[in-house]
Amino acid sequence: MSETRRVVITGLGAVSCIGIGVEAFIEGIREGRTGFSPIESFDASEFPAVIAAEVHDFDPAAIVERLAPEHWGRSGQFAAAAARLAVRDAGIDPELLSTHRTGSIMGTTAGEAQVLQATVEQWVANGLKNVDPRLPGMTPVSQIANAVSYELRLSGDSQTIPTACSASNMALGYAFDLVRAGRADFMLAGGADAVNRACHAGFYRLGALAEKVCRPFDANRSGIITGEGGAVLLLEPLDHAVARGARIYAEVLGYGVNCDAKHMVNPDADSIAECIRIAHRYAGVRAEEIDYICAHGTGTPTNDVTEVKAAREVFGEQVPPISSIKSMIGHTMGAASAFGAIACSKAIEEGFLPPTATVEKLDPAFGEGLDVVPGAARPATVELAQNQGLAFGGNNVVTIFGKVR
């Protein structure tokens, strides 16, 4: 099988702490608005860090058309709502999707963590055998992609890729391969995660949690803010998009994926640099052509220094503007790379650089000439954007998006 086709992004759906719907989300990104607030989804009063980036005003029933929210976990609700928004944004007939070979590939880190949290609470209170019998069926991470397929009446591949914090880049890459190779006509690709007590506790214990604000690239950065949300993109063959007169945000040019195979939680600069080079090779682009890097940029001391080191290895002194949207929406885990992909798509379409909103004093350890786009967005022509996802397990995935030529 040698025939492949070009794949473009024609629909964007975002359910984020700074706005629901791609317009509201991007407005927040452009302004450099942060969505950090006291945790409401669980009692955090006993935690030293009580701030997260929750989506307080999320009402799934106001968005979805088919899904009964009470039968699905919060991550699945995020994914289904974001997917519905992406389809509306694409202006495509939903019937066309459900009568063609369309599927859903969703990334996640913690899966249906709030369902598991409820299960554990009932278990501790009343014993395992008295857990609500509806919960087991809602627990598997596979239910996140299924929520999207159910909501949109899709019958193609329906798979969740739970590969931690680069999961939605992996999902995007795989969905791209499926459309490119002709195994699918359209794909909904993205990711979802929900703030939960176990995740908050774990990151705190790893010393990776910021107390109030996530400040990527800052000399005084202290870690992540746990976040949540759903981010989904509609992938469509270029020819089909052109024929129906669709608005095309960007083309997916390719991606690179590799594994450090060294350590479960510590990133490795050489391996990340290699992943970037793989991505460039597959996408058929040269490093000097990249106009913008949407960094993984978690805001932990280790991540940012490693990521910049990797960028230096590939780009030398001329690192393109590199920013972290986690400065605004926190670490949305399995949705993080998909939010990054949405930011890249809009940056290409509208011509701006998404900012690192919270940086006050750029860490001098990064060396001279690093532009992290501090504060608010800046107008710029973005022809090629690079979106980075790095994860526990040493999973690196870098996606490359370009203006359609």
């Binding site: 086709r5 991470v141 591949d157 739970p162 931690a164 089909h240 594994c259």
Partner: protein, 369 residues
Amino acid sequence: MSLVLTETPLAITSCGVVSPAGLGLEALERALRHGLETPAEPKESPDGYPPRPLWAIPDLGVAELLGRKGLRHVDRLTKLGLVACKLALEGAGEELDADARAHTGVVLATNTGSLTSMVEVGIDTLVQKKPYLVNPGNFPNVVTNACTGQIAIRNSLRAVNSVVSSGQAASLAAIRFARTAIEQGRASRLLVGGVEELSPAAAWGWHLSGALTEDAPIGEGCALFLVEDAEAVRSSGRTALAELLACEVAYQGLGTAREQGEGLRHCVERALERSGVSPGEVDAVCLSATNHWVRDQLEEWAVGEELGRPVPQVQVGEVLGELYSASGAMQVAALLARWREPARQPRIGLVTSMGEDGNVGCLVVREWR
């Protein structure tokens, strides 16, 4: 609008199997012929297990197989994956050199990861003096890709490392992922398969959900296959165990159970067509939902309709217990186990999946010649 495809086959050059029958294909073959000798009980747990048969893997011999180093914070699910990986890599004959390992990846099916690890952290947030006093050494185990990460680390496998979740059909979805990844040049070799761990949380989950037939046993296991492009294997004059032909999956969670059966039927039809195999050529069928109410009959119906004649079944769920994420991979392993007995012609087997969540799938497997 989809391009019409004939799939390029993947060759299984080696396999690693850990099941309630024990380690390896020979033990599996024996169990498939005669049943489990004496099913092993899971280790006792303070939370207790539901009142139904539970078939654990007998003595795993982890220390002898994996050494004692670095396993303190590794959970059972990951150990199953590591043991299966070791068996698969050792069975490959020639050891993979550093360059080959750099281009080898891992794709594993699991729908939950280690529930034991996740629940442990979750419970700690409730019962410890402070909610954040979870064990930091265990925290990395809560990610669903902990097993694939450990396999990569301990074997220096540096290509794509991924996990696929798709309910009962997860292993078939993983095989489909592997094919696409190899075809698109993301890796030259992959370890692909599925893993499931027996735990109180998983056993009670099945029991409470009411999805399984009354006396259906719950099992555990991992089957991993070392795969690469079949053409590459042939042209280099090497041999293999079998070829994975087309693998088709679909989501059918929208309709009635009957419509799910129809959906599976279409998968079987498409998979045969894209494999260039006619229904008359199929020698054996291996079903997945044999422990599940309603689905068991639907799956059998769908396959029967498409093949149009009774075809011998290789039974897995009945022999090893419910294997959920790992079921599809274990079904493939079961065909390989049965094919250890030589035959005149290369045999063709059909592996199907059908689950409560609506995901269905069909894979065509052909004995290597």
